[in-house]
Amino acid sequence: MPDEPSAIPLADVLRAANELVSAGLIQDYALGGALAAIYYTEPFTTYDADIIFVATDKTLSAGIPAIYSHLQSKGWRVEREHLLIKDFPVQFLAASGLTEEAVRNARPIEYEGVQAKVFRPEYIIAIAASVGRHKDLARIEQLMSHAKIDKALLDDILRRYKLKLPKL
């Protein structure tokens, strides 16, 4: 794991993701993972950002080599599964199924003047339910407590993807 950075350069991350869309390297993207949850809940510690993207290249590689080349040409570094900007680790993850639907229905936001999208809480909950680690259960609890949840949408997502919420 890389050293923890002193600040999160989220605007730079989102700007870079927008450039990937403009360059045609990805179709669409949204902020997912812990930072997406923090959009709706109180802040908590996390050490990376997850950018979930819909690939333009539908082959097995999902265009990841081209994405890496593009970002490295802009000064990003590669360290294991992360790309680093200003020492902050970012994971670019190809969307499919539930995560692709989450990207396509993500909420438009503006962060420090940068247009971006963030997963809706119903999708964060469904994805967390599908993964089911301790931290995912905690994320569900936080979102159910603090975010405005569209219950009908959440139930529909859970039903279609055959998921169940854990007992909290």
């Binding site: 002193s6 989220l10 809940t41 996390t46």
Partner: protein, 64 residues
């Protein structure tokens, strides 16, 4: 943390929340560095993060 306090924090702007996360990361870094310094003071002879009794019986050593 009290639920009301969590609600207040959850209602902050995303920019403010990301700044708070950055502060939490810095704090975590300080705590880790302090812990590493303390370990260095406690177990200087072994050069290990473990006490000599544990370091001597680590699986790595027992293979020798």
């Amino acid at each position: 943390m009290k639920p009301e306090m969590r609600d207040v924090l959850a209602r902050q702007s995303f920019e403010d929340k990301i700044r708070k996360v950055s502060e939490l990361i810095q704090l975590s870094r300080k705590v880790k560095a302090q812990r590493a310094r303390e370990d260095g003071r406690n177990y200087p002879q072994t050069g290990s993060r473990y006490p000599s009794s544990i370091a001597a019986t680590s699986p790595k050593d027992s293979k020798k």
